[in-house]
């Protein structure tokens, strides 16, 4: 098999297209690069969707956490504490076991049977856990940003008669985003890193359709040589990190476009790994 044929056969293996049988002997570098790259589809799928949905929930939770009413504030505080205080690894296991307990035949809601089998699959169940997890981490970031909005800005808004929703939309929201963005970029990067945990915790890979690390582990197990597949995953992730940083830097530039260049907030990678 030439390398081009390998790419045609395995480029979309992780989503079930192309050759079904994974290579078993005579592993070539090309096969490893292609299959691991194909697994990256899952990492990007989990990362992008969890970030997109998580952003909305995170803003809501951050606002709830800054609310003066305990009825709204307390649940938000607990949500953030539970998801930030426990390992993502355990959260995956717990969610998988909990979803398994749903009745197999489906739930009857007002005469309509709702299927439940799909919730134990990684594409739905793990995405849900990642969504809640990133929401909690991002909510803490946005909450911190909301608290550090300059007092003068808010007083000026009130002096102009801008209150309530108008004040939030025109003053608090843009400043919150601008202040939170560098930290949020880090959160995005480490969320992508966290997606590698999916197939190593509760959620099993369906028909050997796994993420990049799943295939890397497959090759390392088969060849007893960790020195090729793991550096390949590492390279893919470094590339992904650079792309994410680049995209977020574009947004950051837009958020800071009205400021003189010496006060603009820069995006810096900060250490924060496992969750």
């Amino acid at each position: 098999m030439t390398c081009w044929e390998t790419i045609q056969a395995y480029a979309f293996r992780s989503i079930g297209l192309g050759e079904n049988l994974l290579p078993r002997t005579d592993f070539t570098l090309c096969q490893q690069v292609t299959l691991i790259g194909s697994g990256m589809i899952w990492n990007i799928y989990f990362g992008v969707l969890a970030l997109a949905f998580g952003f909305v929930l995170a803003v809501a939770v951050a606002l709830a956490k800054s609310s003066p009413q305990p009825m709204i504030r307390k649940p938000a505080e607990w949500f953030v504490f539970v998801f930030r205080g426990s390992p993502l690894f355990i959260q995956f296991f717990l969610a998988y076991e909990a979803l398994q307990l749903l009745p197999k035949a489906g739930i009857n809601v007002l005469g309509i049977t709702v299927e439940t089998a799909w919730t134990t699959r990684a594409w739905a169940g793990a995405l849900f856990v990642l969504f809640l997890n990133t929401s909690a981490y991002a909510a803490e970031i946005f909450h911190g940003a909301l608290k550090s909005i300059p007092k003068g800005d808010l007083e000026a808004a009130e002096a102009y008669g801008i209150t309530g929703w108008q004040k939030f939309r025109r003053i608090q929201w843009p400043t919150m985003l601008r202040l939170a963005w560098p930290a949020y970029t880090n959160e995005a990067i480490f969320l992508f890193h966290a997606t590698t945990l999916v197939f190593f915790s509760g959620f099993p890979a369906f028909r050997q359709m796994g993420d990049a690390l799943y295939y890397a582990n497959y090759f390392a197990d088969k060849t007893f040589n960790p020195f090729i597949p793991y550096p390949i995953v590492a390279c893919y992730f470094i590339a992904l990190t650079l792309i994410v940083t680049g995209l977020f830097a574009l947004v950051n530039r837009r958020l800071n476009r009205h400021l003189p260049s010496n006060v603009k907030s820069r995006i810096r990678l900060r250490p924060q790994i496992i969750r």
Partner: protein, 292 residues
């Protein structure tokens, strides 16, 4: 454990629960919590030492050492940690066996042959005939070393930042008094850097706590292993038959981690207040104002 537990099938209710929770396997489960705590107790100082070495290397004026120190911190940060965990454990294991094979084996064939990693039986670590305890201990040792390498890189980053945060004037004053570079480092820089390093290090400690379930991936019989083992549904063939209780076991682990992180948070907040006392930082200034 208790006499009443001799025939578990005949007892019910609270007695059953008491017998169930003190069965031999459950005692192993409770010991595995000690394993986790032991891992933390060994890893935290080891990672701190690695981080200190890394940060000192990164500050070195000799370029290759400085590049080594900075490169160490940079590489680990760009890559998902779980890849390091999976990679280092196999790589270390094979590296150790290869070095040992050079010493004890007769033929020095290259061990990576086709689909196998082959060294002579005498070079296996631990030896094939060693007891299960040594296999477990070796696995645990590899895990501690891997954790120390990965977290050392993060600690190096924090400590490097903290060393740079110590006011320049302090060091210049020390130099003006005629102290050598080593003396400035030992007497001025290191004692003052901790207050700047503490926020980063406490963050790291929280992350380290939450990284401990990864022991399971490294093949150590830790709390996740036992939770899966004990929680799985047990048929009548077992002494204590029960349906699938894994959800409750994992819920227990979740609560354990939540309590652990909460307690750490409180202790670290106190430590931070203690270290900030009398320091020329915003926190130290706030304490001074509150007292006055």
């Amino acid at each position: 454990m208790f006499d009443a537990c001799a025939d578990p099938k005949s007892i019910e209710g609270l007695t059953w629960a008491a017998c169930y929770l003190t069965s031999g396997k459950h005692i192993d489960f409770y010991w595995s919590f000690v394993t986790v705590l032991l891992l933390l107790a060994l890893t935290a100082p080891a990672a701190l030492a690695m981080g200190f070495a890394g940060a000192t290397a990164a500050r070195s004026r000799f370029l290759p050492i400085s590049i080594l120190g900075k490169g160490y911190a940079a590489i680990v940060r760009g890559v998902p940690d779980i890849i390091f965990f999976l990679f280092f454990v196999i790589a270390l294991d094979q590296g150790i066996e290869y070095l040992k094979s050079l010493a004890v084996c007769e033929d020095h064939a290259w061990p990576w042959q086709g689909l196998e990693f082959r060294v002579c039986p005498e070079a296996k670590v631990p030896l094939g005939k060693s007891s299960a305890f040594w296999h477990q201990a070796y696995g645990f040792g590899l895990a501690v070393f891997t954790f120390a390498i990965v977290f050392g890189a993060f600690a190096a980053n924090v400590l490097y930042g903290a060393m740079n945060a110590v006011p320049r004037a302090q060091l210049e004053t020390a130099e003006a008094y005629g102290m050598s570079h080593g003396q400035v480092f030992r007497r001025i820089l290191v004692p003052q850097m901790w207050v700047y390093a503490l926020p980063g290090l406490s963050n790291l400690w929280m992350i380290l706590i939450k990284a401990t379930p990864l022991l399971f991936l490294l093949g150590v019989k830790d709390i996740v292993y036992w939770a899966r083992e004990l929680g799985g549904s047990k048929t009548q063939a077992y002494e204590y038959p029960h349906p699938d209780w894994r959800l409750w076991y994992f819920l227990g682990l979740l609560v354990f981690y939540l309590i652990f992180t909460k307690v750490s948070e409180i202790v670290l907040a106190r430590l931070s207040a203690r270290l900030s006392h009398g320091q020329a930082t915003a926190a130290g200034e706030a304490q001074r104002k509150a007292a006055a």
